[in-house]
């Protein structure tokens, strides 16, 4: 009984992540690469993502403290961030990264700062949700 409940819970959690737009099709691609030979692939790559992106966030925070803003450097960081987000299917995070890059292109200081707050928010939310998801599905 409990096993069925857990399975249902996993399914519900997973579906809601997609329905609410946190994840997109690319996440399913990752899941398809997981099999008996690679049973933890999704969790491993997601863990790497959060490790890398946390470092990138710190780098961007530092860069945003140095005026005049180095938009080239900021754009490079966000290009990395966006690439990784896209590769794991982190839809909302990726979209916020794109917004940030727009403000970079426009050389808009305030815009960048605000956009980055949203990137951090979405990043933190996704981290929380995926941690919960992986706990349930372990």
């Amino acid at each position: 009984m409990e096993q069925n409940h857990t399975k249902r819970q996993i399914k519900v959690t997973r579906n809601s992540l997609f329905e609410q737009g946190y994840l997109d099709e690319q996440f399913t691609q990752l899941e398809d690469l997981q099999d008996d030979a690679n049973p933890n692939f999704v969790e491993e790559i997601v863990t790497s993502f959060f490790s890398d992106s946390t470092r990138l966030i710190r780098n961007v925070e530092t860069a945003l403290e140095n005026y005049p803003l180095d938009f080239c450097k900021l754009d490079d960081y966000m290009h990395q961030f966006m690439g990784s987000s896209s590769s794991i299917g982190a839809k909302k995070v990726r979209n916020e990264c794109t917004q940030f890059q727009e403000y970079c292109k426009a050389r808009n200081d305030d815009g960048c700062i605000r956009a980055f707050q949203r990137v951090k928010q979405e990043h933190a939310t996704l981290k929380r949700k995926l941690e919960a998801y992986f706990q349930v599905s372990l």
Partner: protein, 186 residues
């Protein structure tokens, strides 16, 4: 009877992956390994050249590479610059080079194909892309783009001298049409 060396399986194709993004490296590696490629991964164009023995030290390479897959946007040497160096080398010019990029930029795609890229893959790369690539590599085998005339159309940057006269290849233009067709269907 000693059957330890007996194998029905053909030798795996060896791919060299070049990407500065850690997550993308992991993803591509998994995609390729699942598709039965042997994979070597490096994080820069200069390391790729080192591996191939094309760097300044001219270390001879003992590694048999059947395919090179490189990201376009990398710090230092871009995938495009790496592509040019490989296509200008007598040893490696016939090795298929695939460029990956998050940008669906027609000018960029055209440039890469004209420079001799086998394909241009949009990131994030999918299993279907790798499957298609594998089929294409197996089909063409050792036969490759063949002779083409050279005319000057590429812009050069970096210390490498321009190669004389590069003319767009017929095959490259065909690939571009296929790419457009694929994109519009999707």
């Amino acid at each position: 009877m000693d059957t330890s060396n007996f194998s029905c399986d053909p030798p795996k194709l060896h791919v060299l992956v070049v990407d500065d993004n850690n997550i993308d490296r992991k993803l591509i590696q998994k995609l390729l390994e699942i598709s039965s490629f042997k994979v070597t991964v490096v994080d820069s164009g200069s390391k790729a050249l080192q591996y191939l023995g094309l760097d300044e030290e001219n270390t001879s390479s003992q590694f048999d590479v059947n395919l090179i897959i490189s990201d376009y946007s990398m710090p230092g040497m871009t995938g495009f610059e790496l592509l040019k160096k490989i296509k200008n080398s007598s040893t490696f010019k016939d090795i298929p080079v695939v460029i990956m990029s998050s940008e669906n930029n027609l000018t960029r795609i055209n440039r890469c194909l004209e420079e001799g890229a086998e394909e241009y893959l949009l990131k994030p790369v999918k299993l279907s892309d790798v499957n298609r690539l594998k089929e294409s590599i197996n089909k063409s085998g050792s036969q490759h783009m063949g002779q083409h005339e050279q005319d000057q159309s590429v812009d050069c940057h970096g210390p490498t001298p321009c190669s004389p006269e590069q003319k767009p290849k017929q095959n490259g233009l065909l690939k571009l049409d296929e790419l457009i067709a694929t994109n519009s269907i999707n």
